[in-house]
């Protein structure tokens, strides 16, 4: 493709990948894909400037459907891989896409530490509260009582709260979206990409095949956009209180943002003063550097 040579601005269509999604008709992931394509186009990004990193799962097929550099990595490992990409070449815009099992289950350890490090990534979690690709087992974000193939008598474990977890672990941009509201998703994603730190957007992305509990209707009846509530995203206590609500009111929108904390690459001493990315600096060390090292060994 030769799109980067075009002069007219890119549109969402230019970010369509080589193949069409293999998601089930009606899957919530379509909306997030569309919203992401619209967001990067509106921000004026080109496909070669973006790397989209995913793990494994239905939603982790995302990079194949999105026109940018992509890495479809191992189950649960997208954040670790993406950290390597971003730190080795900080000039790239790095998106990370995946599901709730990938991010909050098998990849949970990386979620904690990526947040703590405030790596400048945009992490889009398509949360369907179920394991879909393995045909319907309980996930770390499934509700108590949910009946699945692995919990035929109802789930007895409490779900993770992605919003409070992200805030408590140190993420500096934390939002929640819903596949039924593309406009809000675009706002959230654009803000996340522009945010200089670890941005997490948990997106309710209903699984129309395996999750009969958390359907579009379930969310439509409960969702309240934070924008309508006068919520102040710099107030983490208020953000956490609202994130704890679930039964009658489920908030979406930007819960929390802290722009004062520097991202990991901004703090990295060897990238001081606008140094070029380590991916592109000459490999060889100098004779002077070698001599200094050897002198210390004498």
């Amino acid at each position: 493709m030769t799109i980067e040579l075009r002069e007219k601005p890119l549109t969402a269509k230019d970010f369509k990948g080589k193949v069409d999604p293999d998601w089930c008709p009606g899957c919530g992931d379509f909306a997030l894909l569309r919203a992401t394509q619209m967001s990067v186009a509106e921000l004026g990004l080109s496909p070669h400037e973006i790397v989209c990193v995913s793990g494994i799962g239905c939603s982790s097929n995302f990079p194949g459907y999105f026109n940018s550099y992509g890495m479809h990595t191992l189950h649960g490992r997208a954040l670790a891989v993406a950290t390597g990409v971003k730190m080795a070449n900080q000039t790239l815009t790095v998106l990370v896409t995946g599901g709730d099992g990938d991010g909050y289950g098998i990849g949970g350890n990386h979620f904690t530490h990526t947040a703590r490090r405030n790596v400048d990534l945009t992490y889009l979690v398509m949360n369907n509260q179920i394991y879909g690709l393995t045909t319907g087992q309980v996930s770390p974000s499934s509700s108590v009582g949910m009946k699945t193939k692995s919990t035929p008598f109802g789930n007895i474990e409490r779900p993770v709260n992605p919003i409070t977890s992200a805030i408590m672990n140190g993420a500096t941009y934390v939002g929640r979206g819903f596949s039924g509201n593309i406009k809000q998703l675009v706002r959230l994603i654009k803000g996340a990409i522009e945010h200089p730190g670890f941005a997490v957007i948990d997106v309710f992305s209903p699984c129309v095949t395996f999750n009969r509990d958390n359907t579009y209707d379930f969310f439509r009846q409960r969702i309240v956009p934070l924008e309508d509530e006068g919520h102040d995203p710099s107030d983490w206590r208020s953000a956490c209180e609202r994130a704890m609500e679930w039964d009658d009111r489920i908030y979406t929108g930007l819960f929390y943002q802290d722009q004062a904390v520097q991202s990991l690459h901004a703090l990295e001493p060897i990238l001081d003063g606008g140094a070029p990315p380590v991916s592109h600096v000459p490999e060889a060390i100098t004779q002077e550097q070698r001599d200094r090292i050897v002198r210390r060994m004498m």
Partner: protein
């Protein structure tokens, strides 16, 4: 002296008694005099207590192992004296604080050098005074002028200020003078070679090999005995522009390394077997996505947590089989610190050429050993060949297929950010464009094509790495085969066997996978008796050799008690095999020095 100077000093005590400092001071003194050093620290996984024995062998010629003998034992506690005095032969020295350590039974001719430390230092409270006083005694026994020690102490302590330097020098002088008045120095004093040497550990060498090869991203999780690589990298990172990250676990390490390597940065990580187990899935992902990464496994005694501070060559099959699936990888086992240094640069050129992962098998013996090295041998400007790497816009606006099926199987590798080369890499099987053929439409024809493309990349690999050669006597009675870190100790065992009139040669294998099967078969075809020497119980290399060549050895010498081979362990094993005294074909030497 026909044999040349060859002297081993052992310093024993509990963790926390300050063994490292006198060890460092002596090491620097020796290498500055141009003497070769091979030091092995037998230690425990404890911060305070236990028993540590640092053996420093200093030699006029190159020291390929830590040797067989202790010629001077410095006892920092009674336990050391109790354990090791009986190993000292006639003419050896035991240096100790006579205020609180009592020698026991010993052989005739052992010099018992008790120091009245409190009397010498006038300070009963300073527990480190005995260490410094002992350095004075050792300097005297070795026939050194006190000024040599004085300047070494000054260098060691100058950062702590003039007061620390002068108090240490005073205590050392008291020890030196007491020794002059009471103890007999060596008949042949410590010699001096004209050219000073440098000193490094194997982990330093691995890290420096990486730095020289242009590693710009290093990540790790601390794990003994690999942590020294992380420490070297962290210390030198800013000066060399290397990004160093400590990660939450080795799964994160390996995946972060894959991500960094994909951007074009030369990337390395090191761990030990347990961490390597966590890395393995990512190693397969590097193979599938065709991303060059160097993974170092510094082997320690296993399985599981095993014996964290002890050595073993137990992870060969773990490396051979690391990660699910059937894929190409490079496995190499360097033979010593200097070899490890050069191997890293070589391996980086190979992984860049073949766009695949490599596994470097070091072990505790190499990695945590301290060795002399001629400074001029430290060439940190190796040839750097990045292979078919596209890092800058080349005006080519496509079409670009990341996995295009080329004659040599290697496809031009564009990194993210280059216009006109946008593509997706995937751990799922994919076609030439990078499009998945794993889920919606699996495709046996393309699957076969891609498997064969990746496999074909290494077709010419064996032309690029040196085949092992037999070295030693013509028409040998016995051929000793080893791999990795045993090369040096086998060479020294051969010297002992030759002194007995045994004709012997050796085959030291370094490049493990792909394997030089033809060259090895040829090398061993005329052997009258082949013995395989390895630091494990089950004979992992023997099984591998048999699988690759069909060769079955005539006998084995194996050690799996956590301690490394000493030359006599191997020489004794060879003699036993030649005498037909090895009942089940496997000779297992006894570890005499219990640490």
């Amino acid at each position: 002296m026909s044999q040349g100077f060859d002297f081993s000093i052992a310093i024993g005590g509990a963790a926390g008694q300050g063994i490292a400092t006198p060890g460092n001071i002596l090491a620097r003194m020796f290498v500055r005099r141009g003497l070769h050093l091979n030091a092995y620290n037998a230690y425990q996984s404890i911060i305070r207590g236990g028993h540590i024995l640092l053996t420093m062998r200093v030699r006029e010629q190159e020291a390929l192992s830590h040797g067989d003998h202790i010629h001077l034992l410095l006892c920092l506690n009674q336990d050391t004296m109790t354990r090791h005095l009986r190993h000292l032969g006639p003419g050896a020295y035991a240096v100790y604080n006579a205020d609180n350590i009592t020698p026991g039974e010993h052989r005739d001719g052992v010099h018992l050098c008790g120091m009245p430390v409190t009397e010498l230092t006038g300070d009963a409270k300073n527990k480190l005074a005995q260490n410094t006083a002992a350095l004075g005694v050792i300097a005297h026994v070795l026939g050194l002028d006190f000024e040599v020690l004085e300047s070494a102490l000054t260098l060691q302590f100058q950062r702590k200020g003039e007061a620390v330097v002068s108090s240490n020098v005073a205590v050392a002088r008291a020890g030196y003078e007491y020794s002059s008045a009471n103890f007999t120095p060596l008949a042949n004093p410590l010699p001096e070679n004209p050219d000073p040497l440098a000193v490094w550990t194997g982990n330093d060498a691995l890290a420096m090999g990486g730095a020289a090869a242009g590693v710009k991203f290093y990540c790790a999780y601390p794990m003994s005995p690999s942590t020294g690589v992380l420490h070297w990298m962290a210390k030198n990172a800013r000066e060399l522009g290397i990004m160093v990250r400590q990660v939450e676990d080795e799964i994160g390490v390996a995946n972060m390394a894959v991500g960094a390597a994909h951007t074009g940065a030369r990337t390395m990580c090191a761990t030990s077997g347990g961490g390597f187990a966590l890395m393995t899935e990512a190693i397969g992902s590097a193979a599938m996505m065709e991303i060059p990464v160097v993974f170092i496994n510094v082997m320690r005694a296993g399985p599981s947590t095993g014996v964290p501070t002890k050595t073993e060559q137990g992870d060969l099959w773990q490396a051979l089989g690391a990660s699910q699936g059937d894929f190409e990888r490079i496995v190499v086992a360097p033979q010593d610190a200097h070899d490890a240094f050069g191997t890293i640069a070589e391996v980086f050129n190979l992984v860049d050429r073949y766009q695949c992962p490599a596994i470097v098998l070091s072990d505790l013996l190499i990695s945590e050993g301290t060795f002399s090295v001629p400074p001029d041998d430290i060439d940190m400007s190796p040839v750097i060949e990045r292979g078919k790497l596209i890092r800058e816009s080349n005006g080519d606006a496509g079409p670009y297929n990341r996995y295009v099926d080329t004659a040599d199987g290697v496809s031009p590798r564009a990194v993210p950010g280059v216009p006109g080369h946008v593509h997706v890499v995937a751990t799922d099987e994919h076609d030439e464009e990078g499009i998945l053929i794993s889920d919606e439409f699996t495709n046996p024809i393309k699957r076969r094509q891609m498997v064969e493309k990746r496999a074909r990349k290494l077709d010419d690999y064996l032309t690029r790495v040196a085949a092992p050669k037999v070295e030693g006597d013509e028409d040998p009675e016995v051929t000793l085969v080893g791999w990795g870190s045993t090369a040096g100790v086998i060479a020294e065992a051969m010297e002992q066997l030759r002194a007995d009139g045994v004709k012997v040669n050796r085959l030291a294998v370094k490049w493990i996978l792909p394997f030089h099967a033809e060259a090895v078969t040829e090398a061993l075809s005329g052997a009258r008796k082949t013995l395989i020497i390895e630091n494990n119980h089950s004979g992992q290399f023997h099984r591998y050799l048999r699988s690759e060549t069909g060769i079955t050895a005539d006998g084995h010498i194996r050690k799996y008690d956590g301690e490394p081979f000493m030359p006599h362990h191997i020489a004794d094993g060879v003699r036993a095999h030649l005498a037909g005294n090895v009942a089940d074909g496997v000779f297992v030497p006894d570890q005499e020095i219990l640490v």
